[in-house]
């Protein structure tokens, strides 16, 4: 025989592979929140906003803990990617911090063979996360933020920062700002805030992707936070749970009111005062008005984008049950993660939208 060694090796590998294939498990942690909504089974894959990704991980884990057979996998790839992939039909639902533009809505409607609906599932604040040796508390106004992220303010002891923080000694460290490399709803909300409140100082417009003249880029809220974590002098904008996870300080930001800290209560207050629903029926999309926001001024809701009808009945049922859970029982998980529960008016609308998903 000419192949003894190769054949033997191949057989051993095959047996090994089969053994491996038999011994894995999806059974990880269990959860504690209640589920009064009922169960469905099936599997869903989703992508989108990294802003809401920590909430999504918590929800999918809790829901799967209560409903065995429900396999929902959410990956944070950025609101832009979520919307694109949803429109292309490669994922079942998307998470996004911003509502779709007309061409994106058209593609999504086409994918759904009907209508794609958007409804908020959580609210939170975009924290200004920094990591500077020698600074433990920081106030930043919109114009200062504009200077920092556009590269006109280069060191931490610049005059503008001193003006925001009277009496605080600031080190001369170089500022290293991090912005998002991918299409990000967080970028869109942050830049809308700057455009509204920094006036002509903010020259980049507002969108999911901007042409940043300075700073470094990283993928995902995770990426920018990781960058700041490792860099002395780093600063970025990301959902506050990323700062909490990494014990990084966040700045107090001034909107139309005074410098405000990022707390759940401040975010709720901001959503109540600054968010209005503009969609109708099951489309619960809305607008943020930063000039009206009190409380923490860079607050936003984050949305889920689903089809009104799915051809797969099991998928439709699972989506309906999952999102009904998310906007009702699931809201209790918001606080510990640094998000804010949705105000009741939005909960009612979102619940109706989630319940309306059929096959």
């Amino acid at each position: 025989m000419k192949f003894p060694l190769a054949v033997r090796a191949a057989v051993v590998t095959a047996v090994g592979a089969l053994t491996i294939a038999a011994c894995g498990s999806d059974n990880n942690a269990t959860s504690n929140t209640a589920n009064s909504v009922g169960c469905a089974s099936g599997s869903l894959t989703a992508q989108g906003s990294t802003f809401q990704q920590n909430m999504e991980k918590q929800w999918t884990s809790d829901f799967a803990g209560k409903c065995s057979g429900a396999q929902i996998s959410y990956t944070g790839t950025g609101s832009g990617a979520g919307i694109q992939q949803f429109g292309s039909g490669t994922i079942d639902f998307a998470g996004s911090d911003v509502t779709m533009k007309p061409d994106e809505q058209a593609a999504a409607d086409k994918r759904c063979n009907g209508k794609a609906i958007t409804f908020p599932i959580t609210a939170g604040g975009i924290a200004i996360i920094y990591n500077v040796k020698g600074i433990s508390s920081l106030n930043l106004s919109p114009k200062t933020l504009a200077g920092i992220f556009q590269g006109t303010i280069k060191t931490w002891d610049a005059a503008e920062i001193k003006a925001d923080n009277p009496g605080v000694t600031l080190p001369p460290t170089a500022i290293k700002s991090f912005h998002r490399a991918d299409g990000s709803g967080t970028t869109s909300v942050f830049s809308s805030f700057e455009a509204a409140l920094a006036g002509s100082d903010w020259k980049l417009g507002h969108d999911k992707t901007l042409n940043w003249p300075a700073g470094q880029a990283a993928k995902g809220s995770d990426g920018v936070t990781a960058g700041v974590k490792q860099t002395d002098g780093g600063i970025t904008y990301a959902e506050v749970s990323f700062a909490k996870q990494n014990s990084l300080p966040t700045a107090k930001v001034k909107g139309t009111g005074d410098f405000a800290d990022l707390t759940g209560a401040n975010v709720s207050q901001a959503i109540d005062s600054g968010f209005t629903v503009s969609g109708s029926g099951n489309d619960v999309s809305g607008n943020l008005d930063f000039t009206k926001m009190t409380g923490y001024p860079i607050s936003t809701v984050s949305y889920a984008i689903v089809c009104q009808k799915y051809s797969d009945a099991a998928k439709a049922k699972l989506i309906s049950k999952f999102f009904t859970y998310v906007v009702t029982d699931g809201q209790s998980a918001a606080d510990q993660l640094g998000f804010a529960p949705l105000p009741q008016s939005l909960v009612d609308k979102a619940k109706a939208a989630a319940g309306s998903v059929t096959s």
Partner: protein
């Protein structure tokens, strides 16, 4: 006298202790330098000491042995330095991967998926990613190996025609495809244009594009190594060409071809870029490669590398260790096969 010295016939020779003495002197100077000036750091110390040692040895040699020998000693020292420079990253890359990866590398990690595990929890594992990688590589090899073998046979045994030459050229072209472009093609064509969506099979397709040229070239080399005398003997006995190839040439080259295939698989198993684009992502164990997103081991490491969560990073290191272990095992097995092959007279 001095002329003779210059030609090196009657120069002095640096005694054994000369080298050691020069080196020790250099280290002493470095210590003094670091004590007296603001220079600090272990790396700086090593670098400065090394530079001074090389300089000291060369200068001493020049003084005692003359220019030619000094240049020779300089070259030797430089080569040794470059050797150290090569081994250093090896030690640090593999060493650090093992050091960090071993922290979470256990049975639990290897047999559980990331279902329900978020960045703030410490549990979870890479089982789903291992299955994904194995299936994707299996799909890739199922396409690339038979096709590659057939192509390499055509190119070597039926060589000479225009088709054979152009195919060899095309295979050369294929080796140059950046892995991300292969992924981009499968994304645009298979996933989107044909509407097949993310799947392990799509990942396998992209990997096959990368694996095929490697298989063809290594199989080609091995088949070419089969002595012509073997073939001629077979023809002389009246055996058909195809039988000669199948029964004589291939079995003779089998070991080498197997090695080549193993190395191709080892190359392709660690590819992230093509898989990143077309396989989607799935925290759950998904064993159907033809339908639905899967995970993959290199993809898992990539996602973890960009994460700010310490748990994610820990898991990424353990996954990296798993990946490196698989690749090293394949390489070592290929080496062992080659040596056995060589021992048998090839």
């Amino acid at each position: 006298m001095s002329t003779l010295t210059a030609t090196g016939l009657r120069t002095g020779v640096l005694p054994r202790w000369g080298l050691a003495g020069a080196a020790a002197g250099a280290v002493a100077v470095t210590v003094a330098l670091f004590a007296l000036t603001p220079f600090q750091g272990t790396v700086d110390f090593i670098v400065v000491a090394a530079v001074l040692m090389v300089a000291a040895v060369s200068v001493t040699s020049w003084a005692v042995e003359g220019r030619r020998r000094a240049k020779d000693r300089l070259a030797t020292s430089a080569a040794l330095c470059f050797l150290a420079l090569t081994l250093t990253p090896l030690v640090f890359v593999i060493g650090y991967t093992v050091k960090e990866g071993i922290k979470r590398f256990n049975g639990n990690f290897l047999t559980h998926s990331m279902a329900g595990v978020g960045p703030i929890s410490s549990g979870g594992g890479v089982y789903h990613a291992i299955i994904g990688t194995l299936e994707q590589v299996l799909v890739a090899s199922a396409i690339a190996v038979p096709l590659g073998l057939l192509v390499s046979i055509y190119v070597t045994e039926y060589a000479g025609g225009m088709l054979a030459t152009s195919i060899r050229f095309l295979i050369d072209v294929m080796t140059g495809i950046p892995s991300i472009v292969a992924g981009l093609f499968v994304l645009a064509f298979w996933v989107l244009a044909l509407g097949q969506g993310f799947s392990g099979f799509a990942g396998g397709l992209a990997l096959a594009i990368l694996e095929l040229p490697i298989v063809v070239r290594s199989a080609e080399e091995m088949i070419k190594l089969v002595p012509a005398s073997l073939r001629e003997a077979s023809y002389a006995l009246g055996v058909a060409k195809w039988k000669t190839i199948v029964r004589i040439v291939l079995p003779t080259a089998a070991s080498g071809i197997t090695t080549g295939i193993m190395l191709a698989i080892a190359r392709v198993i660690g590819e992230t870029a093509p898989v990143l684009l077309v396989v989607g992502n799935n925290d759950f164990i998904h064993t159907n490669p033809f339908n639905g997103p899967q995970s993959s081991l290199p993809l898992f490491v990539f996602e973890g590398a960009g994460s700010s969560s310490a748990f994610d990073v820990q898991r990424a290191w353990a996954a990296a260790l798993t990946l490196v272990l698989i690749v090293v095992v394949l390489y070592v097995a290929a080496r062992v096969l080659t040596r056995r092959n060589a021992l048998n007279g090839r």
